[in-house]
Amino acid sequence: MNSSKAQSEFLESESLKSESIVGGDTAWLDRSFAWFLQIIALAAIALLFWMGSVIFKQAFPAIKTFGAAFLTSQDWDVSQLQFGALTYLYGTVVSSAIALFFAVPIGIFVAIVTSEKFLPAWVRSPLGFLVELIASIPSVIVGLWGIFVLIPVLKPIQLWLHNQFGWIPLFSTETFGPSMLVAGVILAIMILPTIAAISRDVMASFPSDLRTASMSLGATCWEMIFTVLLPASLSGIAGAVILGLGRALGETMAVTMVIGNSDLISASLLDSGNTIPAILANQFPEALDELHIGALMYLSLILFALTLAVNVLAMFIVKIFGFKHQ
């Protein structure tokens, strides 16, 4: 009784208010609101193209001077204004490859441990949370840890690799401490949360009926994982790995701090190296000459295109194949 009276009062006051504000027909207001929002959204899209075109414009002097030979030249001499990207491209690709070598198996195992029922739920969910916590640590702090903890810890291992397997070109040089291998390991730590979290989500969305069916036919838990779970989740895991690769290619601070920043390509992983993000971080603050800035912009453009391609690929894989079994 009381409430219906209040309700009708409310309706009355509300209708009066809206009439007094907009005066009846509000269709034009709705339409202009929609248009306004659409323009804002399109501006957000334009940001990406603005970014691409600004970097391209700044890189243009270098693109004009060096052309495609930039990609295959190893020269990087600021005083002579001779620039080539090969050393940095090589370092970026190799350090990311090392990162995947370590992070993919470990990430998949972490995903299996946190999605399958080996451990009780009260252990599994904090485990997943802790591994993902790595992603929220600023990379400069991981780099600081890399300089003072990881390099000393890995140094004896690197020396051992050189002494035992020095005849393999990959381990052919004595290490100073900072090296491509250390950079790869630190990248592996940084992309592990990406790979583990997405793979876990893919595995967790796998219907448990199929697990039960496989096990009731006599498969052990691990036989079920290898014959049923992993084949079905393969494309989702592939997407996760490629997203991780995208992160590894562009990761800057931690790598810059432990890779040693040399300007030579060495076949040995125990030698110091350099990556595109690392040279950008090192040289941009002091770049003055137009051609030098241009060459650095050219490098950024390459990195931009590389990560764009990798991420679009990952998104398509996850979107098209990722949840096939759902």
Partner: protein, 292 residues
């Protein structure tokens, strides 16, 4: 009969049993290895950084290299980080909220909205150093208000570009969780779409919007790469947003390779403060949504 006996006493051949146990051991060891990295990072930061955490680090400037015994700290770097993250949030949050409203209330599954979502997820994957290069080209190389060069504004612009996609994607998720009936009810009472959006949808999604914004703030306050050559660094207090500006993360990077132990110590202490800021913001955002 012997067959059944074997089935009951020994269900699996030795090889399959060993395979099971072996794989379980490898999986658990791999997870332990991942956790060890995390714990080692956290342990080392606190072990090295906490002893240097005194009141003076918040209130003083970094002492000149090599000078010991004078109060030394990074008050200016904290000031710079907070200032740039705040400007970045002011730039990106309103734009982000409006874009998210477009996606969840108007665009929905239309082609434009799909493209906006796609571009946002691409933008969130652009390496932060490339965003720094973009800000360098747009602001550092340009003359703004009679000033050309490194500035807090350039740093904040880079951080805003990094924040935008995170804010848009998380707020859209928050808005989509508001039940459709509430929008119908609002419209049935005569509200137009602006009133429905702001008084009903945004109001009831406010806690999860706050969470999204806080997560984005936590993410960018630790960013270093986009600040290195946009805000650069400075040894003094901030007087103008059009000057080179210090930040905690760039300070950690600059001092990490220093030959002076007191500067390395300052880097560790700054790491504790920065990590504390990031983890607290993270935790806060989780608490806000849990309360609902």
């Amino acid at each position: 009969m012997a067959f059944f006996d074997r089935q009951l006493t020994k269900p699996l051949p030795l090889g399959r049993t060993l395979f099971s146990y072996g794989m379980s051991a490898i999986a658990v060891l791999s997870t332990a290895l991942a956790l060890m990295a995390l714990l080692s990072i956290l342990f080392e930061i606190f072990r090295q950084g906490l002893p240097g955490l005194k009141w003076e680090v918040f209130t003083s400037l970094p002492a000149p290299a090599g000078e010991t015994g004078v109060p030394s700290g990074f008050g200016n770097a904290i000031q710079g980080t907070v200032l740039m993250v705040a400007i970045a949030a002011l730039l990106s949050v309103p734009l982000g909220i409006l874009t998210a409203i477009y996606l969840s209330e108007i665009g929905k599954t239309s082609a434009t909205a799909t493209i906006v979502r796609f571009v946002m997820s691409i933008l969130s994957a652009v390496p932060s150093i490339v965003v720094g290069v973009f800000a360098y080209a747009v602001i550092v190389l340009a003359t703004l208000f009679n000033y050309k060069g490194f500035s807090a504004l350039a740093g904040a612009f880079a951080l805003a570009v990094i924040m935008l996609p995170i804010v848009v994607l998380s707020i859209e998720e928050a808005l989509k969780l508001v039940p459709q009936q509430q929008r119908f009810a609002s419209a049935a009472l005569g509200a137009n779409s602006i009133q429905t959006t702001f008084k009903i949808v945004l109001a009831s999604a406010l806690p999860s919007i706050t969470t999204g914004v806080l997560l984005a703030v936590a993410r960018v306050s630790g960013e270093t790469a986009p600040l290195l050559f946009t805000a650069l660094f400075s040894q003094s207090w901030i007087e103008n947003i059009l000057n080179p500006t210090p930040s905690l993360s760039v300070m950690i990077y600059n001092y990490s390779g220093s030959p002076f132990p007191e500067q390395t110590q300052l880097a560790w202490t700054a790491s504790v403060v920065l990590l504390g800021m990031v983890l607290l913001t993270n935790l806060l955002s989780r608490l806000i949504t849990r309360k609902r």
